[in-house]
Symmetry: C2
DNA sequence: CTCATTTCTTACCATAGGTCAAGTGTGTGG
DNA sequence: CCACACACTTGACCTATGGTAAGAAATGAG
């Protein structure tokens, strides 16, 4: 098999051979070159993306024209603007490739249909969002109460793969600081 | 009916009369006086709580002995330490009542069993966690990039009920600032 | 190989918010 | 109805991080 989608589903829920076929046909494979937008502000986020190989980031641009990054995701992970995707209202985010990227995508309607065909997926995504929520709260806590230096070191330890593949400007934004601050932090360590 | 649990479930998923009975018998009603702990650090978080009436907060105490609040929840909402609850590993959090509180609770094992008996609940909680995750990301973004003044005004507008029921010390911590800063912000507005 | 672009660093000053310490109310339990 | 804990405020000072601006280093397209 050329992707790990089913492998990940099977970690948390039972997927029969039959269901496997249904799922694989519901996800549409595609790819983009580096530095292309999969989503732009004002559009409704049509798809939930599973990255097979590559790197995508989601970010928005504030009133002052500054970029703020929400997520940086590498191989075998999910990305979307869930707020827009599930409500089908316009997004304020960009989703952009930072590397040439192969992915699988599924539209909102097709996913709803798929939940009906393969109810076990509700379980998978329930667990996925549960974990995502716990992680988001942990990241929230860190941004509130942990110094930039400590957050940097922590990220260096826990997500070293990102440091090897993504420019520091983006990492700074993800950490909630300016590139200049990140640079100063790195000098001192 | 004396609580809105089923009402909320039915907002996002179908619950038959029969399932209703099963669910209601799985949740155990209980109550606590003000200022009591439902969870203490070191314990495994045994329950997922649905607040019928009252107010609960979750927080932890850092190395320096400072409290940091994760969540403040009022009537008709869920609270737990999901990280501990789902992994069944020791928690670092307190869950404490800020008012006399009536709640419903369900244990981890009972909930797993309930998912098997009423699979539609997977859907409900999938949507619940999905929304919780989107909210957590929004709160994360605000703490990173929005000034304390603006976060205060936003919270005042969107969660005015909390301001009427909860001391400002707790709100400050929830906003990610010190009580002193909150006081200064309030003076200026 | 070279030039243009992107990425990263440095230095300077500005500021939001934290820390510490000392207040002033005020609600409630004995 | 008093006292004491709790909630909140204020002021003086401090520090981490931001803003701006400039230049160095690395990367990549032709």
């Amino acid at each position: 098999m050329d992707n790990k989608l089913i492998y990940y589903f099977r970690k948390w829920t039972d997927i029969s051979e039959e269901a496997e076929g249904i799922i694989l046909s519901a996800f549409e494979p595609a790819s983009v070159k580096k530095k292309k937008d999969l989503l732009e502000p004002g559009e409704v986020c049509q798809y939930l993306y599973f990255i097979v190989k590559g790197c995508l980031r989601s970010y928005y641009v504030d009133d002052k024209g500054l970029e703020h990054i929400y997520q940086i995701r590498l191989d075998n992970s999910w990305i979307s603007d869930l707020g827009s995707f599930f409500s089908q209202k316009p997004s304020k985010y960009y989703i952009e490739s930072l590397e040439d990227t192969e992915y699988l995508r599924i539209s909102h309607d097709r996913l709803e249909q798929l939940y009906a065909e393969v109810p076990q997926l509700e379980r998978y995504f329930r667990i996925l969002f549960q974990k995502a929520y716990v992680n988001a709260l942990a990241r929230l806590n860190d941004t509130m109460w942990v110094s930039a230096v400590d957050r940097y070191n922590q990220m260096l330890k826990e997500q070293s793969d990102i440091f090897q593949r993504v420019p520091l400007v983006y990492i700074a934004s993800y950490l909630g600081i300016t590139p200049e601050s990140l640079s100063r932090i790195r000098r001192k360590s």
